[in-house]
């Protein structure tokens, strides 16, 4: 691939007690690409993501041979309700972010923010009658967070299990939304999840993590159809299938 947007080489993370949390992780992603990092709890997938954006918890020691990030990153998190300031109406949060990050005037920011409401199928009366995060549903809050992240015009969107806390029907809407937005805006995406099915719907490439290591990485079709590692096979087999409906 041509120019990589983001390159991480030999990332290692250690806890304060010295345990090796993330081992020799190398990643790269180009413009408009999507990479899914799949793993179970304690695999180090979320820590890897936090290391990329520089949000590591205190006490974690980091060594990295090369960390090249060209362009802007934005991140969305697992729990939509705790990621929004509860004392701050959502539309105002959105307008503030647009105004600050895009350096436009207040009325202009207002207009851009209204555009985002529409794009994310959020209730458009939020612009007139703003509401607090607690007054919105989980799915709506997650959309607001996606809008906040995308309003910074990122080149790479980092997603940490953004659909895990949502109901399946809402999860489907958010997945479809992310797909559409990515097609339209062309950002690259790193999507961390424990759910192989969700990752397979969103990503072209998959990396499987276990105990802090990437044990397998490749094109989605290769990883899923011909898993090289026994653990990947176990993960694929663990997905409980349901039949298609017309």
């Amino acid at each position: 691939m041509g120019s990589d947007l983001l390159t991480i080489k030999h990332l290692n993370l250690y806890s304060r007690e010295g345990s090796h949390l993330v081992k020799d992780v190398s990643l790269s992603i180009g413009h408009g690409e999507t990479l899914g990092i799949v793993g179970e709890s304690g695999s180090g997938k979320t820590l890897t993501l936090k290391a990329i954006i520089g949000l590591l918890p205190t006490g974690i020691r980091e060594t990295c041979e090369e960390k090249k990030i060209e362009g802007k990153c934005a991140m969305i998190f697992q729990s939509p309700l705790t990621s929004l300031d509860p004392l701050y109406p959502v539309f105002r949060q959105l307008v503030d972010v647009v105004e600050y990050r895009q350096g436009v005037s207040r009325p202009e920011a207002q207009k851009i923010a209204e555009g985002w409401l529409q794009k994310l199928s959020l209730p458009e009366d939020l612009a007139e009658e703003d509401r607090y995060p607690g007054e919105l549903s989980g799915g709506q809050c997650q959309r607001v967070l996606i809008a906040l992240a995308l309003a910074t015009k990122p080149d790479v969107l980092l997603c940490d299990e953004p659909t895990t806390a949502l109901d399946v029907t809402v999860q489907k809407q958010v997945i479809d939304l992310l797909k559409d937005l990515q097609k339209e805006l062309g950002f690259a995406m790193i999507f961390v999840t424990h759910n192989l099915a969700v990752a397979s719907q969103l990503c072209e490439r998959l990396a499987v993590m276990r105990h802090g290591e990437i044990i397998e990485e490749g094109r989605k079709a290769d990883v899923l159809k011909h898993p090289a590692h026994a653990y990947t096979k176990e993960l694929v087999d663990s997905v409980l299938s349901v039949p298609e409906v017309d």
């Binding site: 709890s41 109901d167 399946v168 029907t169 759910n195 719907q201 989605k220 409980l240």
Partner: protein, 249 residues
């Protein structure tokens, strides 16, 4: 068919808010019924009504042919047990596993020594480490804690077990093992199970029958196979469609 549990016109309230609306449901003996719904559908509330934990409800609960009053009998609590969703919250952090498991039996009149013997059998059956009974809950993984919770539910040798999202907090590979264990135990003991879940994949794997709940209203019930072949309601169809499937290409 003989019914283990029959619910008639169940309404339930949290404060002034009604969360269940005239729910009618039957579970046949030795059947596993999957209760599906999204958040706020009232599925956990229904379990609390069945077990008598939620007092503010109306309607009739019939267990094995007997209408249950507001206060359940000791015999009811021996025959009906439950496993909860959150492995970290379902075991008292201040008690050793041995105490947690035997207390229920002791109150049923089993001697502490006999209870310990039965616990050891269960621990072995659940593939838990040998020193489990002497340890405190915090030293176990989520999957182990759920198996301990299942062991506690089985201690009193119940006929009917309610499993409230017993695998949702677990990793997928651990979930698979837990489901297999539940299936084996169900065969061994001839259990009737009410299995609550939001995950249709899990429901399909383990349940004979299915009931779909939405905003406190029962949408449809029927055999699981029939539902997965063709849901009767639009909402059932929507739920089924929304399940993420692996896309290979």
């Amino acid at each position: 068919m003989d019914h283990m549990l029959e619910l008639r016109d169940i309404c339930a309230y949290y404060g002034d808010k009604q969360v269940l609306f005239d729910v009618d449901l039957v579970i046949g003996k030795h059947r596993t019924l999957g209760l599906v719904g999204e958040s706020g559908s009232g599925r956990s509330t229904l379990a609390r009504v069945v077990t008598g934990l939620l007092k503010k409800s109306t309607g009739t609960v019939v267990f094995d042919g007997e209408v249950q009053g507001a206060k359940r009998s000791a015999e009811f609590y021996r025959r009906v047990q439950m496993v909860f969703q959150n492995p970290d919250a379902s075991l008292n952090p201040k008690h050793r596993i041995g105490t947690i498991l035997t207390d229920g039996m002791v109150i049923q009149g089993v001697s502490r020594a006999d209870a310990m013997v039965r616990c050891r059998e269960l621990i072995t059956r659940m593939d838990l480490p040998e020193d489990t009974l002497e340890r405190y809950p915090r030293s176990f993984s989520g999957g182990q804690k759920q198996r301990i919770a299942l062991a506690r539910a089985l201690c009193t040798d119940p006929d009917f077990v309610i499993l409230d999202e017993p695998t949702s907090a677990l990793d997928v590979s651990v979930q698979r093992r837990m489901l297999d264990l539940i299936k084996e135990i169900r065969e061994e003991r001839g259990l009737t199970i009410l299995f609550i879940s939001h995950d249709l994949g899990v429901i399909r794997d383990i349940c004979d029958d299915i009931a779909v709940l939405r905003h406190g209203v029962l949408q449809e019930t029927g055999e699981s196979a029939a539902f997965f072949a063709s849901p009767k309601t639009d909402y059932g169809r929507e739920l089924l469609k929304a399940v993420p499937r692996i896309e290979y290409e």
